[in-house]
């Protein structure tokens, strides 16, 4: 039978469970901004500067990972009819585990302290690892019918590989494990940014872009390319750990370039460009495309160009923070609206989503985060001078999103009481 077994709406997690994963995200983004503004700028914009490494992990693990896991807890039952096992028990630990992991790693990077890596690696392996196992189990039951469900079926494996490679790196840094550091590092970054982040975003975008912004739907034949398009070159890369070199890096960039081109095409063809969050998707698609082109051309560009910094900003801020900001601005008001509809008496009119989160306020947040993205890209011109304004701008953009979402929740509590 080629159909899901049940919609399982009754097994979908409560909004409170999902909010616990989503709402801390902007505040962790604010922490990343403050860290850049106030942290030690020595070595910036080099990728191995302690501050660069700390920022990458605060953004990727502290801000983005809880949101993506929270989204998966919701997407599995709603899109695939399969609830994630033990969601009720696991979800409340997602944000604390991610924050704990980040805390350990930042302590390790900024303080050059191996204990930090041991702490971060242990929390990630146990905490995030438990969620990954639950997602693998849920994924196994998903019957793939489109790009999104195909990604849901397999995505946990990419996170598993990323976590294992990250734990191996922590082992190298803390205990001096005899592993090929460069290969493990490159594969950890590639599986995290490409195998996990890009594939999950592409899978989610295949559903939410046509839904919220009325973009053309991904062609069924192209949708079958996910996740293999990105994963095959990445799997080839794993051979490097066994001492078998393979040209996986350019193949990965090529695959990413194709995916980014599709995303860019979809964003440009959106019928609801008037929506306040649409520019975030447009710039996100452009960021992925620029990152892929930069990655492909890296060997031909001058060695002193800050390619790694640009790649980090384009992928993590442009490619991930922007669409996640766009999604948070839609999903939280929508979940609140749904909850109000269930709670309020039938004769009471539920306020429109735009009443809960006014577009004029959201527009200010969108402009702030786009300006921060631009400042972060320009940071290598004068790192010591631009770190403070770029960091503060990014912190302000995320704090304003966090504030807006708290405003939505306060409106909910106020209305639910009436």
């Amino acid at each position: 039978m080629n159909a899901p077994r049940n919609l399982a709406f009754h097994l979908a997690p409560s909004p409170g469970v999902i909010f616990g994963c989503l709402l801390p995200a902007p505040w962790l983004g604010m922490v990343a901004g403050l860290l850049l503004a106030l942290g030690p700028v020595e070595g910036l914009p080099h990728r191995f500067a302690p501050l660069s490494l700390s920022l990458v992990h605060v953004l990727a693990l502290g801000m983005l990972l809880p949101v993506m896991l929270g989204a998966l807890f919701q997407l599995f039952p709603v899109l695939a009819g399969v609830p994630v096992p033990a969601t009720r028990w696991l979800a409340p630990w997602v944000a604390p585990c991610c924050v704990g992991t980040v805390g350990g790693l930042v302590w390790g990077f900024l303080g050059s302290n191996p204990t930090g890596f041991i702490l971060g690696g242990t929390i990630a392996t146990i905490g995030v690892g438990s969620v990954v196992i639950a997602l693998v189990v849920a994924g196994w039951q998903v019957i793939p019918t489109n790009a999104s469900t195909r990604v849901l079926r397999w995505i946990a494996w990419a996170l598993l590989v990323t976590v294992l490679l990250g734990a191996a790196l922590a082992g190298v840094l803390a205990y001096g494990w005899g592993l090929p550091l460069r290969s493990v590092l490159d594969l950890h970054v590639a599986w995290g940014a490409g195998g996990w982040l890009a594939v999950l975003l592409a899978g989610v975008a295949a559903t939410v872009l046509p839904m919220f912004w009325q973009t053309p739907k991904l062609d069924a034949r192209l949708s079958r390319l996910l996740p293999g398009l990105i994963w095959l070159p990445l799997a080839l890369g794993l051979l490097e750990l066994a001492g078998l070199p393979a040209p996986w890096r350019p193949l990965c960039w090529l695959a990413l370039c194709l995916l980014a081109s599709l995303l860019l095409y979809a964003a440009l063809k959106a019928k609801r460009k008037h929506d306040v969050a649409w520019p975030l998707w447009g710039i996100a698609a452009l960021s992925w495309w620029l990152a892929a082109v930069l990655g492909l051309l890296e060997g031909m560009l001058p060695a002193d160009w800050p390619i790694a910094w640009w790649l980090g900003v384009l992928i993590l801020v442009g490619g991930a923070v922007l669409p996640i900001n766009a999604m948070l601005g839609k999903i939280i008001p929508f979940l609140v609206w749904l909850h109000l509809r269930r709670q309020l008496p039938a004769h009471v009119r539920v306020p429109a989503m735009q009443t809960l989160l006014p577009p004029a306020l959201q527009w200010i947040q969108v402009m702030l985060v786009l300006f921060a993205w631009l400042c972060l890209l320009m940071l290598p011109i004068a790192p010591a001078r631009l770190a403070l304004p770029a960091g503060l701008l990014f912190a302000a953009s995320q704090a304003s999103l966090g504030g807006l979402l708290l405003y939505v929740l306060s409106r909910y509590l106020q209305l639910a009481k009436t």
Binding site: L7, M211, Q214, D275, A352
Partner: protein
């Protein structure tokens, strides 16, 4: 996906298109065009709901025995969309464009998540469980258009 299901999905796209045109007209404060697209969108949506509620859902419930499962959720969401359409109609008559735009945004997003569930989960289940789905819906389509 069977032709019958493809036709249902096509109806979703038709409604989306009409709503997008309606939103554009409202943004331009074009009352005449807005009223025309609202009327077309409302007719198309209500006809689609009726087809599902009177033919498709009962056939699914009969075939699976699931009376309080997905179809109950879909029916409830249809009621919510009818309410939102009613609100939009009042706001259109009052020419309250800002409030109408906000209400249309909510309606649009609500419809999209509803359609995603139908197209991704319920319709494939219908296709798997209802033996004569094509004939059932073809007959209805014929009677709807006459």
């Amino acid at each position: 996906m069977s032709d019958a299901i493809t036709r249902l999905i096509y109806q979703h796209h038709e409604c989306d298109d009409l709503l997008a045109r309606l939103e554009a007209a409202v943004q331009q404060r074009d009352l005449c065009t807005g009223q025309r697209y609202f009327h077309e969108a409302e007719q198309a949506m209500l006809a689609h709901f009726e087809l599902e509620e009177t033919i498709l859902f009962p056939a699914f419930e009969l075939a699976t025995g699931l009376l309080h499962g997905p179809t109950e959720v879909m029916r409830d969401e249809h009621y919510a969309m009818r309410d939102l359409l009613e609100n939009c109609r009042s706001l259109l008559l009052a020419e309250d464009y800002a409030a109408l735009q906000a209400e249309l945004d909510t309606l649009f997003i609500f419809i999209q998540q509803h359609n995603a569930k139908e197209e991704g989960v319920l319709y494939p289940m219908c296709r798997a469980h209802i033996g004569d789905l094509g004939a059932l819906l073809a007959h209805t389509h014929a009677s709807c258009t006459t």
